[in-house]
């Protein structure tokens, strides 16, 4: 099975982001970047499918030079080769533009399966994978926790609300967007990193792919979330405080 995993590099989750001078994007200086979490699960799913059924895992990304490190990590974990579409202005692109780039590059490989994370941790649009399927004319399913290959195609497990799941039979080729937490992620190893040095990373440009990715959605400005303190101290004896807490959890927060 030939599997493409589309990945994105995002600021580390712990990073303290600042808004840049234009007010339209974050200041990338001093930031550490890492693989988008649900993309890491997409990669893990692809690697497990390859281990079971054989084939090839190709990492596909669109990003600036710094993405090289994340690509190498993906190769270290077991992907066979990588394609990167040089792209310095991710912040000003919309999901359609990125999906067009990815679709053009993916088309050349004609994969059996295309996986990507459910959504990115920075923009959180959650559309790229779905648009990608549309552009390629492939069936798709989102929020996938588990993928099983069957004789006819795939059997996938979708996550619904409140602990409900859905099992779906679908044909191949297909596009799936993967939810975090379905598998246990493997750790990167020294051997993987050394072997990754010998793996192919092909750099292509938007013009080589013949894609016009002019954004149709313009980003106006980004703002940091407003901090507000809503801590409440519940008075009284521990017993009274506990009773008050249960009350609030039941009727205000509604988690009980």
């Amino acid at each position: 099975m030939k599997i493409i995993v589309a990945i994105k590099q995002v600021p580390e989750r712990d990073a303290q982001v600042r808004i840049d001078a234009s007010g339209k994007w974050i200041d990338e200086a001093d930031l550490q970047f890492a693989l988008n979490e649900s993309d890491a699960y997409a990669l893990e799913e692809a690697l497990q499918l390859k281990e079971k059924h054989g084939g090839e895992v190709i990492v596909l990304s669109a990003g600036p030079e710094r993405i090289g490190q994340t690509i190498r990590e993906a190769l270290a974990k077991g992907a066979d080769r990588a394609i990167n579409i040089a792209c310095d202005d991710l912040g000003s692109r919309d999901a359609l533009g990125v999906a067009r780039l990815l679709a053009a590059a993916a088309k050349q490989e004609s994969p059996d399966l295309l996986l990507t994370g459910l959504q990115s941790e920075d923009l959180g649009l959650g559309q790229t994978g779905v648009i990608l399927a549309e552009l390629l004319g492939l069936p798709h399913a989102s929020l996938i926790l588990h993928v099983e290959k069957t004789d006819a195609g795939l059997n996938v497990k979708r996550e619904l609300e409140e602990g409900w799941f859905q099992q779906i039979e679908m044909p191949l080729p297909a596009v799936l967007t993967i939810q975090s937490g379905g598998n246990k992620l493997r750790y990167a190893t020294l051997m993987g990193i050394k072997r990754a040095k010998m793996k192919e990373v092909r750099q292509v440009s938007a013009s080589e792919l013949g894609v016009d990715a002019t954004p149709v959605v313009m980003l106006d400005r980004v703002t940091l979330p407003q901090k507000q303190k809503s801590t409440q101290i519940l008075p009284g004896s521990p017993k009274e405080a506990a009773a008050a807490l249960v009350e609030k959890l039941k009727f205000e927060v509604r988690v009980l």
Binding site: E12, R13, D14, Q16, A34, E73, K184, L185, R186, Y187, A188, T189, L190, M191, G192, I193, K194
Partner: protein, 638 residues
């Protein structure tokens, strides 16, 4: 000539005066057969050691320490005696007798061909034979004692199986001494002298080939093992080239590892002191070494079969706390920690170790900054709340918070109190805005990739901030920064806060002596850094220091080291509970620690141990307790 001395009352050693040609030929044949049998095995062992991979960072110099270790540990038998005084001394008697007998044995063999160079009649020979006789008597007593210990007392560390070969060897050594001593009671030309000579010869020539076939191989190898050992305690050697991932297969065994594996004398001291082995875990350090030896015997150093599996258990290898008690105890120079960590490196660097907790720790440190997986914003908040000064290059010390000091509630208390003491002393210090885990847990668990990333990132931060001197409350941080980071750069000078505080002990207020404080030696401060008295000096400011049964070099691990603090539930008894019970049993009012990991382990263990446990305080907290309460930081301490 002979007659002139016979008048003296003391008996002299009798040696047959003349050997027939047949006797000489028989002796020569036996000698050759014995030597051939010796070499038949020893040659094989030597070849396996020499054919092993070269140690990448081995250097003979500086040689002074090697010579000293050889003198002290081999010739003086200091470690053998010190760690097990009675059997150790018995062993030393046997060893020293062997040294004294070198000349006697050479002369004995030469006599068989008519070339004896020492004569009981000559001045030198006569006195040398007496000299050797004194040793022979001591040795006979010593070997008898060891025999009784092994077969009648039967300490469990020698293993459940009775070693008949050891009994036979003891018998041979006893026979050698008995036949030698008996020769003083017979006449030179008597048949008895001839019979004794032959009996002595037979014992000798039976003993020789048994050496390489049994654990008595240590007679020949261990002096070399001690002389050639890496020298730095628990040193983890660098990986060399693109195909070195640690100890994966036979081809990764280095000459030192193979030499050490063949040197093991199976005394079980490592097992006796191992926190894993003594709390019912699978790990037994002796069996690890014997597993490597069995691998070498069966497959050799050129094999690409995995080292873990049939010969050693992966589960056992990952139960090691890297406390180093085994390596510290070993009388023949085996370095267990590099071997155990080497086997872990082999498993982790190639991805064959699968463990949910381990993988979580690795992923946390691949992406995040601290082993606890907490946002660095929390560290920033703590720094602000405690009003800790930020290091700007002008201060003398960089106060390294570490994961525990920056994120763990108890670790933060220690930092806050240590900062109070430094404020009181007027020390100029600052903390870094950004810090990553030093990589201690991943280093000991064998993840070289993450360790390298962390070491390099930290070294860069320290260089950017122009840090010259670091002080840390965590012995793991101290060790890792000072020794392990060397592989990737030049770390700044660093000291543990016990060393810092002890230096200023005179300037710190003395408290009442009424409180009894039992001090627990952290492995990474004691055995790893050889710092024992400084923390006691500091604890002594706050009360009277008492000792647990296992203290100083023999201190028992808290169970957190080697990355184990981050792995899952232990099998068997918890190491921390075992140690906590020992500390409580001293009756001390306070348990004093000098490591935030020990502290967190005991916090849980003492809470689980029953009502009214002793209080648990770091030495920095003990020192800070005596300060005037109006110290600026104290007002803000949580």
């Amino acid at each position: 000539m002979l007659l002139s001395f016979s008048a003296i009352a003391l008996p002299t050693l009798a040696e047959p005066l003349h050997f027939s040609l047949a006797e000489k030929l028989l002796f020569a044949a036996m000698l050759i057969a014995s030597g051939w049998l010796f070499w038949g095995r020893f040659g094989v062992v030597l070849k396996k050691i020499l054919k092993s991979r070269k140690d990448p960072n081995f250097h003979l110099f500086p040689i002074g320490k090697r010579v000293w270790d050889f003198f002290w540990e081999v010739l003086c038998q200091a470690k053998v005696i010190r760690e097990r005084p009675l059997p150790g001394f018995a062993h030393a008697l046997v060893f020293w007798t062997f040294l004294a007998f070198a000349l006697v044995t050479l002369n004995h063999c030469a006599t068989g061909f008519g070339f004896g160079f020492l004569s009981a009649g000559g001045m030198i020979g006569r006195w040398y034979f007496y000299f050797a006789a004194v040793f022979a008597m001591a040795c006979a007593v010593g070997i008898l004692g060891l025999f009784i210990r092994r077969f009648l007392v039967r300490p469990k560390w020698l293993g459940e199986k009775v070693s008949w070969e050891s009994g036979f060897i003891a018998f041979l050594i006893f026979a050698l001494m008995a036949t030698y001593l008996a020769s003083f009671g017979v006449g030179d030309s008597s048949t008895a002298a001839r019979v004794l000579w032959w009996l002595h010869t037979m014992a000798l020539l039976t003993f020789l080939p048994l050496i390489p076939h049994t654990k008595h191989l240590h007679l020949v190898l261990s002096p070399a093992t001690i002389f050639l050992s890496r020298g730095t305690f628990a040193e983890i050697p660098p990986l060399k080239g693109d195909e070195d991932f640690g100890l994966v297969a036979g081809t990764d065994l280095t000459q030192l590892v193979s030499l050490q594996a063949y040197s093991c004398v199976e005394c079980g001291r490592c097992t006796e002191h191992c926190p894993a082995a003594t709390t019912g875990k699978l790990l037994n350090p002796k069996e690890i070494i014997l597993g490597v030896r069995a691998y070498l015997n069966d497959l050799g150093p050129a094999s690409d079969q995995p080292l873990l599996g049939k010969y050693n258990s992966q589960e056992a290898v990952f139960q090691c706390t890297t406390c180093g008690a085994c390596e510290f105890q070993c009388p023949v120079g085996i370095e267990h920690v590099p071997i155990l960590v080497g086997l872990r490196r082999g498993a982790v660097n190639t991805g064959t170790w699968e463990d949910d907790h381990g993988a979580k720790l690795f992923l946390t440190l691949e992406r995040g900054s601290n082993a606890l997986g907490i946002s660095p914003a929390e560290r920033d908040k703590f720094i602000q709340k405690q009003e800790l000064p930020i290091f700007d290059g002008t201060q003398e010390y960089c106060l390294w918070l570490g994961c525990m000091g920056g994120y763990d509630p108890k670790g933060r208390e220690i930092i806050a109190d240590f900062a109070r003491v430094m404020n009181y002393l007027g020390t100029s210090y600052g903390v870094l805005r950004k810090e990553k885990c030093t990589g201690d847990p991943v280093r000991r668990l064998g993840n070289d990739l993450v360790f390298q990333q962390l070491a390099e990132a930290n070294l860069e931060t320290l260089a950017q901030n122009k840090v010259k001197k670091i002080v840390s409350i965590c012995p793991h941080c101290v060790r890792t920064i000072q020794e392990d980071w060397k592989e990737y750069g030049v770390p700044p000078e660093i000291e543990h806060h016990s060393e810092f505080l002890a230096r200023f002990a005179d300037k710190l207020p003395r408290q009442s002596k009424d409180e009894s404080i039992v001090f627990h030696d952290p492995c990474y401060l004691g055995r790893y850094r050889n710092v024992y008295e400084e923390p006691r000096t500091v604890a002594g400011l706050a009360g009277t220091v008492v000792e647990a049964p296992r203290n100083h070099e023999r201190s028992f691990c808290c169970g957190a080291g080697g990355g184990l603090a981050f792995l899952g539930e232990e099998t068997g008894e918890r190491v921390s509970h075992n140690r906590a019970a020992e500390l409580v049993a001293t009756g001390a009012q306070t348990v004093g620690t000098a490591c935030p990991f020990c502290n967190t382990m005991f916090r849980d263990a003492l809470a689980a141990g029953g009502d009214a446990p002793p209080q648990l305080l770091d030495i920095a907290q003990l020192a800070a307790r005596g300060l005037p309460s109006a110290s600026p930081i104290a007002d803000h301490a949580s």
